[in-house]
């Protein structure tokens, strides 16, 4: 799960990490009064779940409260399109108004869980303010890395290693090490999947602070962080994905094609998308329907398909293992009884209780195209979406 920069900075602050003075505004008038309180030059930053804001015009600098009001007005209420967003962009409902900082050096600091070592890893670099993947590609020697033993935690010597490695002055090493220790504490206490400060700046006064902040959280751990969960801003997500989630259909991802897909299992669902593409079509979504114990989720998935105007055909591909094919078949029938569904339906069933599932579908009055195997299903769905008769 993602959160906004202003929320991430509040968390950093709570864990003793210095950030620029500032506050969040929802209206130009609020931006004006925050700017007046901060005095002098301020930065106005669009709050969206996407990077690349600067180049997209989402970050402005103003010298007076009046100018801050005007610039905030230009950003608020618009949709920001960056290299990381969909072409339609994301809505900007809040701006962060911050006291401008005179920057001497831009550094990079982050923590992730490293898959190979199975430990959290802290990365630091002198090449801050840039895309770190780009730094890794062009000059990997500029990225320093330490692995954090989960039992003993982050150690001061690791902080010194990174701080001296980034050529910080002896007086800056201690505050930098403290900052790193605090960042690891935050990472662990809040079950982050990513904690990134880019750039971490050294100001003209020699102070070290987090000029930007990105915190992502482990979805699997949200059950123990209700404070974090409530920060989620659904406005930033795809509306169909939000609706699916509200209806209890998890693991739904909107794609750009026209074949609605219902599959059990993430790997199989990806394989179905691959096959549809191979057969000359495009999936409208990724959906792992998961373990279905009753028909509710199946009915809800059809609700999502019918809400999506791009869907021209539906493909159901189920290989029952944990998921019972008969329950899914019953769900398909109930969905067609409850809603007026005119979409062509291609069904391929196999696995646990498959005979019962096929019997339920055959005895219902709903029209569907039966597929005998995996590829046959994809091929028939592609034809149906094109309006061809099978």
């Amino acid at each position: 799960m993602k959160i906004h920069e202003y929320q991430a900075k509040a968390l950093l602050s709570e864990f003793g990490i210095p950030v620029p003075k500032g506050a969040v505004a929802s209206t130009p008038a609020e931006a004006k009064s925050i700017a007046a309180e901060l005095t002098g030059k301020v930065a106005i930053k669009a709050q969206v779940y996407a990077g690349g804001r600067g180049k997209a015009g989402g970050i402005k600098v103003s010298n007076t409260p009046e100018e801050a009001e005007k610039l905030a007005g230009q950003i608020l209420g618009t949709r920001l399109v960056t290299r990381q967003t969909a072409p339609e962009g994301v809505p900007v409902s809040k701006v962060l108004v911050e006291k401008a900082v005179s920057v001497q050096r831009e550094l990079y600091l982050s923590i992730i869980v490293d898959n190979a070592s199975r430990m959290p890893a802290m990365m630091a670099s002198e090449a801050g303010g840039m895309d770190i993947e780009e730094v890794a590609r062009v000059s990997p020697e500029k990225i320093l890395k330490v692995y954090i033993d989960p039992a003993s935690g982050f150690q001061a010597f690791q902080g010194r290693k990174l701080a001296y490695g980034m050529n910080l002055s002896p007086t800056q090493v201690r505050p930098a090490t403290r900052l790193m220790t605090n960042l690891y504490q935050l990472f662990q206490a809040k079950d982050c999947s990513l904690a990134e400060i880019n750039p971490l700046v050294v100001t003209a006064d020699g102070e070290i602070l987090a000029l930007d902040a990105k915190l992502n959280f482990d979805d699997n751990a949200l059950f123990r962080h209700s404070d974090i969960e409530q920060l989620h801003d659904v406005e930033q997500e795809d509306p169909l994905e939000v609706k699916a989630n509200e209806l209890g259909v998890k693991n739904y991802i909107k794609m750009d094609g026209n074949i609605g897909c219902m599959v059990n299992g993430a790997g199989l669902a990806m394989a179905v998308m691959d096959l549809i593409t191979k057969a000359g079509g495009r999936p409208a979504n990724f959906l792992d329907i998961g373990t279905v114990n009753n028909t509710d989720r199946v009915v809800a998935a059809f609700k999502v398909f019918t809400t999506d105007p791009s869907v021209k055909a539906v493909l159901v591909n189920i290989f029952g293992g944990i998921a019972r094919v008969d329950v899914i078949a019953q769900g398909i029938v109930e969905a067609h009884q409850q809603m007026d569904i005119r979409l062509p339906l291609v069904v391929r069933l196999a696995g646990t209780n498959v005979d019962e599932g096929k019997r339920i579908l055959a005895q219902s009055k709903i029209r569907f195209i039966e597929a005998t195997n995996f590829y046959d299903a994809a091929r028939k769905a592609v034809a149906a979406a094109k309006g061809e008769r099978n």
Partner: protein
């Protein structure tokens, strides 16, 4: 032969009295697996599905000689269940549970470092040695005893693959679901190593997916150590970057996570790539014919 589980496996089920735990334990027993014990704290002394239930894994092992554990404990308590099984000295622990926080798994791996326990999963369908033992969720009847080893990050895509193999009369030695999490207990390399040593496994099917670098590490192992033919498929060629495709580990971040990079690495290592998920079985058939 087979790997990890066979007729000698004495299975313990942690979370045996829960809905999923009891449903699948029943099916494992029907398949012929020797389920010797169950563990549910607070229900020790009772019996379910004809299996004695204990409060702790330690007691269950002492009383029944269990040598493998299958875990159906909810995500919030699953890490603790894995540690309990390892502490009791169980050599093979299979964790089915999906949704365990990654920092819990970091702690588990740290604990397992100096233990002899092998962990399969979490977020996996378990494993089966057809005709001998099933410790997982897969439908037993789609399998056929034979000589192809299967290792996969995906559950249902494995069922699909096995059904294709069985349909062509090609049996399996052992099918291992290593799970869809970013920090699996056993990796492709761990399982490939076992298949390479296993006399009855003559070829291997590897099913990967986007995210991480496990397939690239497998490719390195295949190139340097494997003499047996490997057929590979990688799901997610059409998945968009930056999105988590159902599995916690299935997310493209950086170019190494892409299907194309993984396929290229596996192909360069000498694995035969199945052109589509519908052609995994036929690709294996061709490879077996060429190598016989």
């Amino acid at each position: 032969m087979s790997i990890l589980i066979d007729k000698k496996t004495r299975l313990l089920v942690q979370g045996i009295t829960g809905g999923e735990g009891s449903f699948h334990t029943q099916r494992c027993i029907e398949y012929g697996t020797r389920v010797v014990a169950g563990v549910t704290p607070g229900k020790g002394g009772s019996e379910t599905l004809g299996v004695p239930v204990f409060n702790t894994v330690e007691t269950a092992v002492k009383k029944t000689g269990a040598n493998a554990s299958l875990i159906f404990v909810p995500a919030a308590f699953a890490a603790d269940a894995i540690l309990e099984a390892a502490d009791a000295g169980i050599p093979l622990v299979v964790c089915i549970t999906e949704g365990i926080p990654i920092l819990d798994m970091v702690m588990v791996h740290n604990y397992l470092k100096d233990k002899s326990t092998r962990l399969i999963g979490p977020n996996c369908p378990g494993l089966i040695s057809p005709g001998k033992c099933k410790a997982g969720l897969m439908a037993g009847e789609i399998h056929l005893p034979g000589n192809v080893g299967v290792v996969s990050r995906s559950g249902t895509l494995t069922y699909e693959t096995v059904a294709q193999l069985t349909g062509l009369g090609i049996g399996q030695s052992t099918c291992v679901g290593i799970g869809g999490d970013p920090l699996p207990g056993s990796t492709f390399v761990d399982i490939l190593e076992l298949f390479q040593k296993d006399k009855d496994t003559r070829s291997v099917v590897l099913i990967g997916e986007i995210g991480g670098t496990a397939e690239q590490e497998a490719a390195k192992f295949i190139k340097e150590k494997m003499t047996k033919p490997v057929v590979a498929f990688v799901a997610g060629a059409t998945a968009p970057p930056g999105r988590r495709m159902g599995h916690a580990g299935a997310i493209i971040s950086g170019s190494s996570g892409r299907a194309s990079e993984k396929i290229a690495a596996l192909a360069a290592a000498g694995a035969t790539i199945a052109p589509s998920p519908a052609e995994i079985g036929t690709t294996v058939k061709k490879v077996l014919e060429t190598n016989s």
